[in-house]
């Protein structure tokens, strides 16, 4: 059987192979587009709802009409902003995220400098302990941390949300790696010129490790902006201090909630992160890849 078949297509090999190649390419793109729809459909629909003129009649569940709004408006954004005083929550998000980013960069850079550049008793032990926090199971830490914050009088404050999150192995490790890459001669030269260690850190080390600082800052920013569970817990007694991520869900839980406004509010929350992601996409992916190597 195979003999017969092999004989015949001798001349036809090249076009049939070409066809198969094209076929495979088409299949590849079809699969990729299907996955793409799965990944981004929720955003597209939310976007469609957010810009739909709700006074044009119809509900968000009129398919497929609701996916292609006939009357486009930006009024939903204005409405949700005013009705739910979204400005307050946006400010809360900015405050929590800003404090977290600044705190993380500061604490990580300070801790990483001696770990990378000095010999002192206990250094290796401290470094090991910090790295160990990556694998320690923390299933009960959030309970005790709430009790601690309560004792410190920090429950219901932005500082209470931020403080427990800023000292992390990831940031310290990242900055230490960056500092290790800076030539020792540069530091020696500065010392001969009489520079203090803090000056060396701020004038030499930090400017030279800007890419790492930026990466850490962006990672922290996206994480803090999106965080839900921890801020919700810490600020449960102070609803006015909640960030957008918590407030949006509270809106959704309201009895007479308006999906058009919720969609608009959700997009307001998403846009900053999306912009940061698009701008720093390569950094993101490379940062992730760094985790494997």
């Amino acid at each position: 059987m195979s003999l017969v078949q092999q004989g015949a297509p001798a001349r036809a090999t090249s076009p049939s192979r070409k066809n198969r190649k094209w076929g495979r390419l088409v299949v590849r793109y079809v699969v990729l587009i299907a996955v793409l729809l799965f990944a981004v459909f929720p955003f597209l629909w939310t976007l469609a709802i957010a810009i739909t003129d709700k006074h044009g009649g119809g509900s968000i569940y009129d398919f497929p009409d609701s996916l292609f709004p006939r009357a486009v408006t930006f009024r939903n954004f204005v409405e949700v902003y005013n009705q739910f005083s979204l400005g307050k929550y946006i400010w809360n998000s900015i405050s929590i995220t800003g404090l977290t980013v600044i705190g993380t960069l500061l604490v990580s850079a300070l801790a990483a400098y001696p770990l990378a550049r000095f010999k002192f008793p206990g250094r290796d032990f401290i470094f090991a302990v910090i790295i160990a926090t990556l694998v320690l199971p923390g299933e009960t830490t959030f309970i005790v941390n709430i009790l601690t914050l309560n004792k410190l009088g920090l429950l219901g404050t932005h500082l209470g949300v931020v403080l427990p999150t800023i000292a992390g192995a990831f940031g310290i490790f990242l900055m230490r790696q960056a500092f290790l890459g800076i030539p020792q001669a540069l530091i020696e030269a500065a010392r001969i010129d009489g520079a203090k260690e803090l000056t060396i850190l701020t004038r030499i080390m930090l400017p030279l490790t800007k890419p790492s600082l930026a990466a850490l800052g962006i990672f922290t920013l996206v994480g803090a902006w999106n965080a839900y569970f921890w801020p919700m817990l810490v600020l449960s007694s102070a609803p006015d201090k909640a960030p957008l991520s918590v407030a949006v869900l509270r809106l959704k839980g309201q009895f007479n909630y308006d999906p058009f406004n919720i969609a608009a509010g959700s997009l307001i929350m998403m846009v900053p992160v999306l912009l940061v992601f698009l701008a720093a996409q390569k950094l993101f992916m490379r940062g992730m890849e760094g985790a494997v190597k």
Partner: protein, 313 residues
């Protein structure tokens, strides 16, 4: 032991006092915060697991009272805890599915074809999405009148009059929540696998093509073996993540309907902070059980994926 080239010479370590003081001053903020918010809660939380503590908000009632293993006995007798643990173990079904899908997608976007950079970035967007936004969007999709039912009825997979809310149905809610976890996770693992794939030398692939190996064979005999360290890392990460699922459950179903989506950490959270019990002792004990299972699964993962050729990292 008589190694001559030891650059550090720790026998006579000369530490300068100035360097030591300066180092500890720089490390102080990190160390204080880690001690207060990571190590102290680990130790104190473990201790609380063996005490009766709570009853009042933030534990402002009686001090913790040592009761030995009583909390663990209570847990074993609590059907909700057992259900939570079973659900958490059941959640692990996501691990192989998620890993295979991410690896497959990574292989698909790894070729230098037009548009690949766009696909990679788009697949990563769910990863940088807040869980609250995911909750808002998926709530609409899963609604009785939502997109999922629209697709299914139009594909004639279910009848129009038998649609239901996927998150309100005891049989489907658990899987619906899991799909959201999948949605938020596959871009993350895809990028990790992509990094691993790009480390595979091209000559190997080319040689295999010359030897007549088809794509499938190349995948199993070149890609998979060389990707073992990455597969280990990813499966370890996703095992632990699956066991620690809490936010999805909290925002999508709050454990319902009929407790069908309760996971182990949801149980820990609800015992400590929901309702009026504030049972920090019992919640801590449950947390310890989850931690122990997480540790066990990590060890199993390492055993299964250990590189027995000796060439791994």
């Amino acid at each position: 032991m008589t190694v001559s080239q030891r650059p550090k010479a720790p026998a006579k370590a000369k530490y300068s006092l100035r360097d030591t003081l300066m180092s500890y001053a720089f490390l102080a903020p990190a160390l204080i915060l880690l001690a207060l918010f990571t190590f102290y809660p680990l130790a104190y939380g473990s201790y609380l697991g063996f005490t009766e503590y709570g009853g009042a908000r933030f534990g402002q009632g009686l001090p913790p009272k040592w009761i030995g293993l009583d909390n663990f006995r209570t847990l074993i007798a609590d059907p909700l805890f057992l259900k939570s643990m079973v659900n958490s173990v059941k959640y692990l079904i996501i691990v192989p599915v998620l890993q295979l899908a991410s690896l497959a997608v990574a292989v698909l976007v790894n070729k230098n074809l037009p548009g690949m950079a766009f696909f990679r970035a788009a697949y990563y967007v769910p990863v940088v999405t807040s869980i609250s936004l995911a909750a808002v969007m998926w709530d609409w999709i899963y609604n009785k009148d939502g997109t999922l039912n629209w697709i299914l009825t139009n594909a004639h997979l279910i009848a129009k009059d038998s649609t239901f809310g996927w998150l309100n149905n005891e049989l489907t809610a658990f899987w619906a929540v899991m799909l959201v976890t999948f949605w938020r996770g596959f871009g993350y693992y895809m990028v990790l696998y992509l990094a691993g794939l790009q480390g595979i030398p091209e000559e190997l692939e080319e040689a295999a093509v010359l030897d007549g190996a088809n794509a499938w064979k190349r995948f199993w005999s070149i890609t998979v073996p060389l990707m073992k360290p990455t597969i280990l890392l990813c499966s370890l990460l996703s095992t632990i993540a699956a066991l620690r699922v809490l936010e999805e459950v909290l925002v999508l179903t709050n454990g319902g309907p009929l407790n069908s989506t309760y996971t182990a950490l949801m149980y820990v959270y609800s015992k400590a902070f929901q309702g009026f019990n504030f049972d920090y002792g019992l919640a801590s004990a449950a947390g310890l059980v989850v931690a122990a299972v997480a540790l066990l699964l990590s060890i199993i993962n390492f055993r299964v994926f250990r590189d027995d050729t000796g060439g791994g990292k």
